[in-house]
């Protein structure tokens, strides 16, 4: 049989350079030249480079990991990102501030409302807009509902990576996420791509009867959380896969600027709702959930506890909810705003960590430069360090416990 004819000038056939793979191979060659023996006693050349992703069921998106394996042990990991890059930051420069709000939802799509808040907060800081009190409470309620939905997905998909048992947990959580999305849909008009926040308020007031329906759901929530804990917390298989794996130290949190459950599980009480308070969070009574060991299990525990804290926050907000307008000044939001020249950075506590937005304004209707600090992008940097020396199966548990959303990482 003759070789198939390959037209090398055809761009579809042209081999694209793959620097990550070359880097992995180069590191093996260098380790071999330095005479470092592998774990199995052989030389480094015994190692195998495996390409995990971008289409892999346990990466929850299009994360690609170039993994160097020595038997079953992970020697090196090179994350490759960018498969979901949609030029969000460049898009901002060609759109007015107002037109850009729906696009922010699509950066980290699991926690859309929280991302919107981060963006709106920065523009309000630049333009000096203060939303009315009722709008602030509604914002907190929506963001915390969104946090519950996001954590349910985060825990559910993570557990489903570990074992077939987890698939059951995943479906429990998807079942219970549905009423949260229904509540959000009723108030905002959308399940995930909300487009709900406006500069100086929110788009709609709460629909009639919504508060009672929200209370009904929150009344059911503690029993549901108990149910998950019964399934997981004392489960021998689950504990074996999670306890003591992928330990993040406090020094790592400082060095790698880790935020969110990753930092709090390591015992650092870094929560922007407390450390850099915004909106009405200073008036609300809630705990910053921390754990001590920083391993995979503790990260799961932090998310579980935060479900309860979010419930507490929403109940307080419903009790304190004042009357009045939900939009500053007129009934219609300011469609065209021109913040004065300058720059501002604000951060918002996203379910995954610090969601920062840096905006440079030149006084026109368009942002001159917009830059997102996505929590997953920053947290992902420590992945190679956590995975090195573990088994490949634990590597999946570690990446799952970081609750990565590639839409945010790649922007």
């Amino acid at each position: 049989m003759s070789d198939p004819v390959v037209n090398v000038s055809d761009p579809v056939v042209k081999k694209a350079p793959d620097e990550a793979m070359e880097l992995a191979l180069r590191r093996i060659r260098e380790a071999d030249a330095a005479g470092k023996p592998s774990d199995l006693g052989g030389m480094a050349l015994d190692q195998v480079v495996v390409n995990m992703g971008p289409q892999h069921p346990s990466t929850h998106g299009v994360l690609r990991l170039v993994v160097t394996l020595d038997g079953e042990n992970v020697r090196d990991v090179i994350p490759v990102i960018g498969y979901l890059h949609r030029c969000k930051e460049k898009l901002a420069e060609k759109r007015t501030y107002y037109q850009y709000i729906p696009i922010v939802d699509r950066t980290e799509y699991v926690a859309g409302i929280n991302c919107e808040w981060g963006y709106v907060l920065t523009v309000e800081k630049l333009a000096g807009i203060v939303p009315p009190r009722r709008a602030e409470f509604i914002r907190v309620i929506m963001a915390e509902l969104n946090r519950i939905a996001s954590h349910l997905i985060g825990i559910g998909t993570f557990v489903s990576d570990l074992s077939p048992l987890g698939t059951a947990v995943l479906f429990y959580m998807f079942r219970d996420r549905e009423p949260v999305l229904d509540l959000l849909e009723e108030a905002t008009g959308a399940r995930m791509m909300f487009n709900y926040f406006r500069f100086g308020g929110v788009r709609f007031d709460l629909p009639p009867g919504w508060e009672q329906r929200c209370r009904d759901f929150l009344g059911r929530l503690p029993k549901l959380i108990d149910e998950y804990e019964k399934l997981l917390d004392r489960n021998a298989v689950y504990l074996q896969r999670t306890v003591g794996k992928g330990v993040v130290t406090r020094q790592d949190v400082v060095d790698y600027s880790l935020t969110g459950p990753l930092a709090r599980a390591a015992g650092v009480p870094f929560d922007l709702r407390r450390t850099r308070p915004y909106s009405v969070y200073p008036e609300l009574d809630f705990d910053v959930c921390t754990e001590q060991h920083g391993d995979v299990f503790d990260r799961y525990r932090v998310r579980m506890n935060e479900l309860r804290e979010s419930r507490k926050i929403i109940l307080q907000c419903l009790d304190m909810l004042p009357g009045g307008p939900v939009q500053v000044g007129t009934l219609r939001p300011p469609y065209v705003i021109t913040p004065p020249p300058g720059s501002a950075y604000t951060a918002q506590e996203n379910p995954r960590g610090e969601y920062g937005t840096y905006i440079v304004s030149d006084g026109s209707r368009y942002p001159y430069r917009l830059k997102f600090r996505d929590p997953c992008f920053v947290n992902l940097q420590i992945l190679p360090k956590l995975m090195r020396g573990n088994r490949i199966a634990d590597a999946v548990a570690i990446s799952g416990s970081m609750d990565l959303v590639l839409g945010g990482i790649d922007r």
């Binding site: 930051e89 600027s257 992902l380």
Partner: protein, 164 residues
């Protein structure tokens, strides 16, 4: 390392004064942005030394690098280093001017490990090269992309889209 947050209580004015005293002539144009950020200009040549000393500053060590932003001002670039001090619970923004003719800065990834990917992104998107970076590959775009899209004068080439 305890990583306790806000153990040092320091007012914004005091922080600005102390930073000015610790870095005389190096941190220029110090101003305060409410509620908790100090903004200062830094010369590109002295960046590395300032970074090291800020990282090890007694009491108010800016030991965490949150973000590196890059901005194209047409006449020049600007890199903005967003630093955070766990002990003081305060933010510091270092604005560094980078010339358009020679967009090169020293890497700070050996001072703050989190700078690694931010610097790669600044290279990928804005074309600012970081001298001494351990792994200076592109990060979001593919390896053979031509140009740096977030520059204001960027022109998208057909060579970048072989499949259309």
């Amino acid at each position: 390392m305890t990583a306790e947050i806000g153990t040092i209580v320091i007012s914004m004015d005091e922080l600005a004064v102390r930073l000015g005293e610790a870095f005389p002539g190096e941190l220029a144009d110090i101003r305060i942005q409410d509620p908790d950020t100090v903004i200062a200009q830094v010369e590109a040549a002295g960046l590395k030394g300032i970074a090291r000393r800020l990282h090890d500053l007694p009491q108010i060590a800016f030991d965490s690098l949150t973000l590196i932003s890059s901005v194209d001002y047409k006449t020049h670039f600007e890199c903005v280093y967003h630093l955070y001090s766990f002990a003081a619970n305060r933010y510091l923004e270092l604005h560094v001017r980078v010339s358009r003719a020679k967009p090169v800065l020293d890497t700070v990834s050996d001072v703050w490990p989190s700078a690694d990917w931010h610097e790669r992104e600044a290279w990928d998107m804005m074309g600012i090269r970081f001298e001494g970076h351990p792994d200076p590959r592109r990060i979001l775009l593919k390896d053979d992309w031509i140009g740096h899209p977030l520059r204001k004068d960027y022109v998208d080439l057909i060579e970048n889209h072989p499949y259309v």
